[in-house]
């Protein structure tokens, strides 16, 4: 009987060790994971996307997701300001507030995005993009991982030009395009 108790005591210790290892692994990949963005602007209409704009969209969209991950994993709404405006910013800020209240943190790890421009306005002041995103969604509540899955999601995104970059104004996950 004493032996059994010893084994029972070892069980939570092992579990804790495994949990710690899994969290550490998650954190190290968090700092390493820079979003990979592949873009296709050939379908954009009615205006052709300028070379400079293509480069800017690719760079800024990746940066936006990088900031999104950092903001939601640390519950810091301030990190959203650089690349999100309008409904996208207010929605994410509200997500951070309620996440914090519920004791949740979200990680978007190992991101890759396939971005396709579907609409570029005649005046060049808004672009609609379809993103097929893949990432590891990890939810941690009260220090415990409650969800860890590799997901493939589709996003409809509206981006608008700001002073020196393109920013996300609307971002909505959809079941299909």
């Amino acid at each position: 009987m004493k032996v059994i108790f010893k084994e029972l005591l070892l069980l939570p210790v092992a579990a804790m060790a495994a949990l710690t290892i899994s969290l550490l692994v998650g954190q190290s990949s968090l700092s390493e994971s820079l979003p990979r963005v592949e873009t296709n602007f050939s379908m954009a209409a009615p205006r052709t996307v300028e070379d400079l704009t293509q480069r800017s969209i690719t760079r800024d969209y990746g940066q936006a997701w990088e900031n999104l991950d950092r903001a939601l994993s640390s519950n810091s709404a301030g990190l959203l300001s650089d690349y999100f405006v309008g409904p996208a910013k207010t929605g994410l800020a509200s997500a951070i507030t309620s996440q914090e209240k519920a004791g949740i943190r979200s990680h978007y790890l190992n991101q890759s995005h396939k971005l396709e421009a579907v609409f570029y306005s005649p005046e060049g002041d808004v672009m609609e993009l379809h993103d097929t995103a893949q990432y590891n969604l990890q939810l941690i509540a009260d220090g415990k991982t409650i969800q860890d899955e590799r997901v493939v999601l589709r996003y409809v995104v509206l981006m608008t030009p700001a002073a020196d970059r393109w920013v996300i104004r609307q971002m909505q996950a959809v079941s299909q395009f």
């Binding site: 899994s22 929605g91 509200s94 005649p122 808004v126 899955e149 996950a173 079941s175």
Partner: protein
Amino acid sequence: MWSSMNTASPGSSTFRTLLLLLGLVACLTQASPAQGEGPRPPAVVVAGTDFSVSTPGSGKATFYLVGPSHSSKQQIDLGQGIYIKGDEVLSAGRYLVVLCAQTCQSAAFYVTPAGPASLTFLAHPSRVPVRQDNAISGVVFPLDKFRNLVLAPVTINFKLTADRGDSSSRLVRTKDGVAWLRVRSGNVTGTVQLVASTGDVSVRRVVRQVASDPCNLRIKVERTAKGIVVETEPVRDCSGNTVPDGTIVTFTKIDGAGKSTVDAPIKQGIARAQMSAARQAVISVASGVVMGNPIRLSE
């Protein structure tokens, strides 16, 4: 159960290792995707509507709802439906419900936008020269009352009304949540009201149609006690529209004293400048890239 296991292999080191492995597996199971029967949300929910999520089993559990702009946590009794209020699912997108008892199980569902409640209407340019092809553009994004982009096709009615009452309209169906059009600017100056509407929602924008560059600049010179006054005839574009007041007209006089220039704004259709008198002088006029007739002054 444990005692029977104990009798089966008492003090065995293999058993100890097995138990450790079991512990690890149990722990990793917690952090892996939900297995077996989990929470059952509806497949699709319309933004802002109440719904419930059914949970299997019995006992106590923690229920998490994680969405694009809202997350919540509550303690629940398993086996009962969990009622979710509409104000927890205002943003369209993918939501996760996670149920954690000994292990965590999850399910995803999508919230779709409600019907169009407002329109984002981008109309450009705000000032446009008359008679220009595809010069005016309008882009419309229908949004629901929670500012979600409505992706289901919506018919937008674009209506253009000029100052003089001339109007035209065009129906455009949204694709991927956007409808747009391009039209030619009218022949006369003035404002054009651009209205986009769907159902009982409408948005108005104003585009000002302005004259093009001045055409046939003509001046006349009048001698006064103080010198000479040079003024243009009413400045119009090539379609006969009056060039907007404030447009700069440059008068230049070259005489023995040198070159004199006055940048004078058009006021009430005419630009005017006062210059010193000279026995002999050449006076010319320009506005932007357009030159007018030079006048030679002599005694």
